[in-house]
Symmetry: C2
Subunit: 209 residues, 2 copies
Amino acid sequence: MVAIKNHVTRLSKYKSILKRLKSVGMNRVFAESLADAANVNSAQLRKDFSIFGITGNKKGGYQIDILIEKIEFLLGKSKNHPVVLVGCGNLGTALSRYSEFEKENISIVAGFDIDETKLENSGKFPVYHSCELNNFIREHKIEIGILAVPAAAAQSTFDIMVEAGIKGVLNFSSMVLRSPSDVFVNNIDLEMALETIIFYTNSPVKDQV
Amino acid sequence: MVAIKNHVTRLSKYKSILKRLKSVGMNRVFAESLADAANVNSAQLRKDFSIFGITGNKKGGYQIDILIEKIEFLLGKSKNHPVVLVGCGNLGTALSRYSEFEKENISIVAGFDIDETKLENSGKFPVYHSCELNNFIREHKIEIGILAVPAAAAQSTFDIMVEAGIKGVLNFSSMVLRSPSDVFVNNIDLEMALETIIFYTNSPVKDQV
DNA sequence: CTTTTTATGTGAAATAATTCACATAATTAT
DNA sequence: ATAATTATGTGAATTATTTCACATAAAAAG
């Protein structure tokens, strides 16, 4: 299991902010103000950049264009990334319509579901039966998958994906997946996310722990 | 800004696993195996429990029923939590159909959108125009909101929610919200989540930083 | 009743993440 | 030219998190 480093997630966040700054016409930015926008300490931002070998101009801040380019290279985004969507229920379908992905060189190339009524070919990408999953991943050399199936099916579906050659999975199920060390898993647990909020707003012990 | 403590998110994860164990008929569990299922070190699990004052039985592990009860109390889940859903686009709608919430004493009581075509009253909860947001939160004393609006509208919508009395927000927009210190924000940035995966599977520097 | 076993609970140690604070060098002002 | 200014880049210090390792007490075995 590979642990996510905070500086990696922050790098992605910086990029998102930089793109927004660029879109409003800015072309230079200082560590202080970018850190501000990202809600981090400016020393942290500079240290993050230092970790990745990103340098700015002494006294002159950072050139936004160049910065975005460097970050995208570092994140591995120089090419387009085909992704499979496994589980086309409510959540999966919503994700597939999430337009931000397309902007970011990420495209869902196929969906998979065990429910026959979900299969179709008229949308932005075809939806196949899950039994095709292994073949599709192999044939198209897909490396990344979004897993949006019920908890009960998560581990077995994940195993199929790994067996077929997937290298990274965004897991929306609440299952903690057991995964070989060379496959990277990032978990988004919606229930946990909401419960965390309930804790910080309602728990009798929130100020004591 | 209140920082999320990892032991809080883990507590929620433990609960989710415990419920699954219970549903398959188990009634006792040892730190070692629960930690295993949660993919954490067993000392960490015991330390987490210790932070929250949860104790087990020397040599006898933990009683699952009691453990679930204790955790739910600690998380602040003894009562039902009404939640508003702000932004009823694709993502918002999918979240509203996410059935896991209901099981967990979380219920979406109203949706809000600026798009007239999204307004309706036939679903599980009514969808009102966003201009009603302030009033609704005040009148029903809602404390928690799910923010699923485009980045451009996120901060201003958030400000309205805070002004009306919201105490916790699950933010799905990519905006880093500026928030008063007594309002808790938990961010889920899907783009960042996928980019993190791309980094760990594709970055030229993934093994060096 | 005594001994052995074993899983909890927690100080101490190790590791990781963040922040401080300042030397440095480019830029601007004088 | 020289001096003053100011934002970067980074060691050192701090703070937070995780893991180790073992004393302890309950249970089981003898």
